[in-house]
């Protein structure tokens, strides 16, 4: 979509033109949904968060500064909406702080061939507090200080949550690799996501028979 087309659509949205709104929605659906999916637990919630974000966009489109990139503005709204959506749950999870970052160094992961859906599912399986910090730090590029300010938590808590998120992701990746290896050796059912009964988190997708 050219800048001129985008500008035209935005002008239509300012006039609350439904057709323009739909075209803008359609044009940025994938971009917005991708953001919401990694902040959400599943597709249901992602769609709900995304629509809340678009609702803000369409009802406050006058606040958009045309001199700045629309996509960045939209992305920021989606991220903020997602953080707000889970903020009430996040408060309960911020119990432990990590003042020193030494332990972060223990996280490492081997090269693998996991695809988008595999990795997205892993992120979605993280506890919300870990997932939010991991998204903000690792994907969106915010610092711990910025995250602390956004989520109203200390820098130490942000680091702690990032560390734990990485540990859990690493564990999931290793488990997934192990299952993939078994699959090559003749395993009949190969779930994409890690199946590890010793893992502390509950996979969203699993095969009960293999799991047991």
């Amino acid at each position: 979509m050219s800048d001129e087309e985008l500008h035209h659509l935005i002008q239509g949205c300012v006039k609350q033109d439904s057709k323009s709104q739909k075209l803008l929605y359609k044009a940025f659906y994938g971009f917005s949904m991708a953001i919401c999916l990694r902040y959400a637990t599943n597709q249901y919630e992602a769609a709900e968060v995304m629509n809340q974000g678009f609702y803000k966009v369409f009802t406050k489109i006058e606040a958009y500064d045309a001199s700045r990139p629309f996509k960045a503005w939209l992305g920021r709204i989606m991220m903020n909406t997602a953080v707000d959506y889970y903020r009430s749950n996040l408060k309960m999870a911020y119990a432990q702080e990590l003042d020193t970052a030494e332990h972060i160094g223990e996280v490492s992961v081997a090269d693998n061939n996991l695809n988008y859906n595999d990795l997205l599912t892993m992120i979605q399986q993280l506890p919300q507090s870990y997932r939010t910090v991991f998204n903000l730090f690792a994907i969106d590029g915010y610092s711990h200080e910025e995250i602390g300010e956004m989520l109203n938590i200390s820098t130490g808590t942000s680091k702690s949550n990032l560390f734990k998120a990485r540990q859990k992701l690493k564990q999931m990746i290793m488990s997934a690799d192990a299952v993939a290896y078994d699959y090559n050796a003749g395993t009949k059912f190969a779930p994409v996501v890690a199946i590890n009964s010793s893992a502390t988190i509950k996979p969203m997708f699993y095969n009960t028979e293999i799991r047991e």
Binding site: S18, Y25, G30, A34, N51, A101, L120, E209
Partner: protein
């Protein structure tokens, strides 16, 4: 930097997750949902949903409290009974000169009720007095006029009981007595010689007065049910066990509830409201599971198990059908609203060789106003004037679909509890 040393795990995710090639495809149903929001059919946000519920509860509490404070006062005004006593000529009292004037002043408070009972032989057919001047004239006329309904709620000012009752013999045959409203009793002393009127509130001297009245009159006083006109407020704490079924009771799960109700009893009618914290698990076939969601199961689950925690806010009205000694039975109906607090679903597949969504936790549970009709019977046994025990079987019939899964949830159960009368009245002797 430690972060930089181990950013590879971040990079693994960033490179794949942030890749535009992986962006999901447009889905029309998501736009339809947003279009509804934009057209005002459905608004996003959380607080908006709470406002009507909070408002309804607040309004109900205000109505109950308002009734409590206002009705007893009104009833008290209307409950002034009247005793008119003619004093024989020559039995003067210190009030003879002043009481007529006092009575006229007090006539401002005259009511126009019609509940006065006439025990005497005086004229009871006088028209209701409409104005102050008319009332003043009537008060100055012989005592027969005083029996008009318009003066029945005449209030007395400060009373010297001994003086008001006088020392001379009462002429009971010419006394007019209206004792069906014992919240306040006026004694009007009329001197036959001067026609002076002396209204006296003798609520505190009731025992002395009653001793001068016939046994029949005392009996009617004792049995008067108007003692209970004042609403009695009670708090009831209930715990219940119930079974829940979707559409029918063919497949049920046991639930439990604990709650508190505030009730106001008006004679045989009781209005109650409050809140229950309910734990409601239920099973449903996948065909009954119909969330408003665009998600499509690749493999359909066979059944869905729901685990719901909710606030049940009932507004019930009950009628007392039986009351003897300390036992009472009421039957009633009402309506319940539900506020979902926690809602999760477990998807059960026919075979384990299926790859699909295993559970879903609804992150923003909704509210469902006036979604079920309640039918209940309540057996109450008073332990003492303050405390009673309740046993209440009940049925909840769904009016609307509730929950994320949008099901008609039926419930039948039994609640047991204790009720505490906040403003229990003294028992009539």
């Amino acid at each position: 930097m430690k972060d930089e040393q181990h950013k590879n795990i971040d990079d693994v995710f960033r490179q794949v997750i942030d890749d535009p090639a992986n962006e999901p495809e447009y889905r029309q149903n998501h736009w339809d949902a947003l279009d509804e929001m934009l057209n005002g059919k459905k608004k996003p946000g959380k607080m908006v949903y709470w406002l009507p519920i909070i408002g309804s509860v607040a309004a109900m509490i205000l109505v109950v409290l308002g009734w409590w404070y206002l009705v007893p006062h009104a009833a008290q005004n209307a409950n002034f009974a009247q005793l008119v006593v003619h004093k024989p000529k020559g039995t003067g009292t210190p009030q003879q000169g002043s009481k007529p004037i006092e009575a006229v002043k007090l006539a401002e408070q005259i009511g126009t009720g019609d509940s006065m009972a006439h025990a005497g032989s005086l004229d009871a057919k006088k028209p209701v007095v409409g104005s102050f001047m008319e009332e003043e004239e009537k008060l100055k006329t012989p005592s027969a006029n005083l029996s008009a309904p318009g003066i029945k709620s005449l209030r007395a000012a400060a009373v010297n009981q001994d003086v008001a009752l006088g020392t001379g013999p009462m002429e009971r045959n010419s006394a007019m007595i209206a004792l069906n409203k014992p919240a306040g009793i006026n004694l009007i002393i009329i001197d036959d010689a001067t026609h002076a009127v002396a209204p006296v509130n003798i609520i505190s001297s009731l025992p002395n007065l009653v001793s001068n009245i016939t046994d029949t009159q005392k009996g009617s006083f004792k049995n008067d049910e108007s003692w209970f006109k004042k609403p009695r407020l009670a708090v009831t704490v209930l715990a219940s066990a119930d079974v829940n079924g979707v559409n029918s009771f063919s497949n049920t799960n046991a639930g439990k509830n604990i709650g508190m109700l505030l009730s106001a009893r008006f004679n045989k009618l009781t209005i109650s409201t409050g809140a229950y914290y309910s734990f409601k698990p239920y099973d449903m076939p996948f065909s009954s599971y119909s969330p408003n969601s665009g998600y499509r199961f690749k493999y359909s689950p066979q059944t869905v198990t729901a685990d719901c925690r909710m606030l049940d806010i009932p507004l019930n009205i009950d009628y007392q059908v039986f009351a003897k000694n300390k036992n009472a039975i009421t039957v009633g109906t009402g309506i319940s609203s539900f506020i979902m607090l926690k809602e999760s679903y477990q998807y059960n597949y026919a075979t384990s060789h299926v790859y699909g969504l295993s559970s879903y936790n609804v992150s923003n549970p909704d509210k469902y106003l006036f979604s079920s009709v309640n039918f209940q019977a309540n057996y109450r046994r008073q332990i003492n004037s303050k405390v009673g025990v309740n046993i209440m079987p009940y049925v909840k019939v769904p009016l609307n679909d509730i929950g994320y899964s949008r099901v008609k949830l039926q419930t039948v159960g039994v609640a047991v509890g204790l009720n505490w009368n906040i403003n229990s009245l003294p028992k009539p002797k």
